[in-house]
Symmetry: C2
Subunit: 320 residues, 2 copies
């Protein structure tokens, strides 16, 4: 048994991302605590003995050829690394504090481009008061570049997944789909919005959209609930419409299935939903907020309100 195999049935190509993660978590065994202290949310959550009652942490990478291409400027790629991680903190409603930055780089990576990457990452961090306190650089094979950020934050309350109730109203920020046309490099994590939502006691659960609404919604509600979605209320981005024209798929399908929206998907108790919506829009007049459905008893499935048809996840999965 070696690290690599030529038999595809024994390789990771034969497994879904979910299956791979399940195997890793099982193998980590006693070292791996259960959710929410362990894997399963946007961040890991720790209780503190201080005013900032919770500490949260998350880790995410960007890889050349996967999260950006050869034509992408270093500054945009570096900015994306920071914003991707900040989006996980936004979903928790936390304030970023410090981060570690690790590189694996081929010897043929351009030194000016790498410097530009650090500029972009540094500016995105400084804009939200995040300190990059340390890191590491290792040489990888020629033609490769990856950077990983491990991010810490804190908050007096934390938003997480699997904490909604039957009857809760489902909201989403922004417009969805077509991120590949540019949004995936240009978005700003919804940090202020997440912190505001976290301060509202009637907001019950939250996640950020990274793998597409149809895949992330079951992740938000958990296995004891279903979601019923008004497909007419799902906000479709202009890029999703443009992509629809190019590939012939409906714009709605892009809005449901495309990854890298980095918008917030959250639930609110039904009696306070109108108030949450109105107050949110007052605080964030430039951020579209859409009420798209509600939570029902169930088993982690999503249905269309109009015709009761299941909405399957064909969303982005790293190993499909």
């Amino acid at each position: 048994m070696g690290a690599l195999t030529t038999q595809s049935g024994r390789s990771l190509a034969a497994l879904s991302e979910t299956e791979i993660i399940q195997r890793i978590v099982a193998a980590l065994s006693d070292a791996c605590p259960v959710f929410p202290a362990g894997p399963g949310g946007d961040c890991a959550v720790f209780e503190n003995q201080s005013d900032q009652k919770y500490r949260v942490s998350t880790i995410d990478s960007v890889i050349l050829g996967r999260h950006f291409d050869l034509a992408c400027s270093g500054a945009k790629a570096g900015r994306k690394l920071v914003q991707r991680n900040l989006s996980d903190l936004a979903a928790a409603g936390a304030t970023p504090s410090d981060a570690l930055l690790s590189f694996i780089v081929g010897a043929d990576v351009e030194s000016d481009w790498l410097e530009d990457f650090a500029h972009g990452a540094g500016r995105a961090a400084a804009n939200v008061g995040l300190k990059i306190v340390g890191g590491d650089i290792c040489r990888g094979t020629m033609g490769t570049f990856s950077a990983t950020l491990a991010l810490q934050g804190h908050s007096s309350r934390i938003l997480t997944r699997h904490t909604c109730q039957v009857g809760d109203i489902i909201f989403v920020t922004g417009k969805l789909g077509g991120s590949i046309y540019g949004h995936h490099l240009d978005f700003m994590a919804r940090l202020k919005e997440g912190q505001w939502l976290c301060a509202q006691s009637t907001v019950t659960a939250c996640t950020d959209l990274s793998d597409g609404l149809a895949k992330d919604l079951p992740g938000l509600i958990g296995s004891r609930f279903n979601a019923r979605i008004d497909l007419g209320a799902v906000p479709i981005s202009e890029d999703a419409q443009a992509l629809a024209k190019a590939d012939g798929k409906p714009g709605l399908e892009h809005a449901l299935q495309d990854g890298e929206d980095y918008e917030l998907l959250f639930t609110s108790s039904p009696t306070q939903a109108d108030l949450i919506a109105a107050t949110f829009q007052k605080n964030f007049p430039k951020t579209l907020l859409s009420q798209i459905g509600k939570v029902e008893a169930g088993k982690g499935e999503v249905f269309s309100l109009a015709d009761n048809q299941p909405i399957k996840s064909g969303g982005f999965s790293h190993f499909d």
Copy 2:
């Protein structure tokens, strides 16, 4: 300007690891605090408002083909990732608390091998009470595997670099050199020893040996001091002797220049050095401790005690 270049003068191949890190730190600008809160030590250090006065963090990776080869078991590679990071915490004298684990894997990575990797990492973590609380997995190019661990710890006092004084005595644990013969996969981080040293107020500075004594010693003492080393007192490992027979270089050169010893290099005030040595050996009878030299005023250079010759660093550097 793109991520990769075919002009070697514009690529990272033209720079040393130190130059690359200096450029990144400069480019991160305001986002990057100065040492010891920022880069330059084994860990980044934060002050807390709790009994555990300090929080520390560090990040490190293992890469297939660089830190282990195709013949290495998953369990050994996973164990190495955890021990490498723990060694940085040992140098600070801190207690590990939680970590995030990130993978970048080609689709041809064997799934059983990856599971074995997680087993090895999980066991090494559980042995020291470290929790792996979250992570991430991304697909990389075929034939590649890397794993990155971001580790947090805490302590009521922290050992760091650049804090020794003129006259301090220099000690090193274990035997040095020849790690490539197996030690680099089989070592245990000197966590207990580091915590004990940290509790002794007369221990003034500490680091772990990852790039070789000749390179790590200037890093420990900093630019205001020199070190004078009794080369006859440098502990040479059996593997360094065996390697010397194979390649014709002196065993001492391997002990000074080889990387991945993962031993502790520390300084103590001269009046208490004998007491530190005796009490250390009583507490850790199986860990060799050698007094190898002393700290003088200077500018970050290392000299031989016997003949006053400079000891240059030809130690391991990732980009040479």
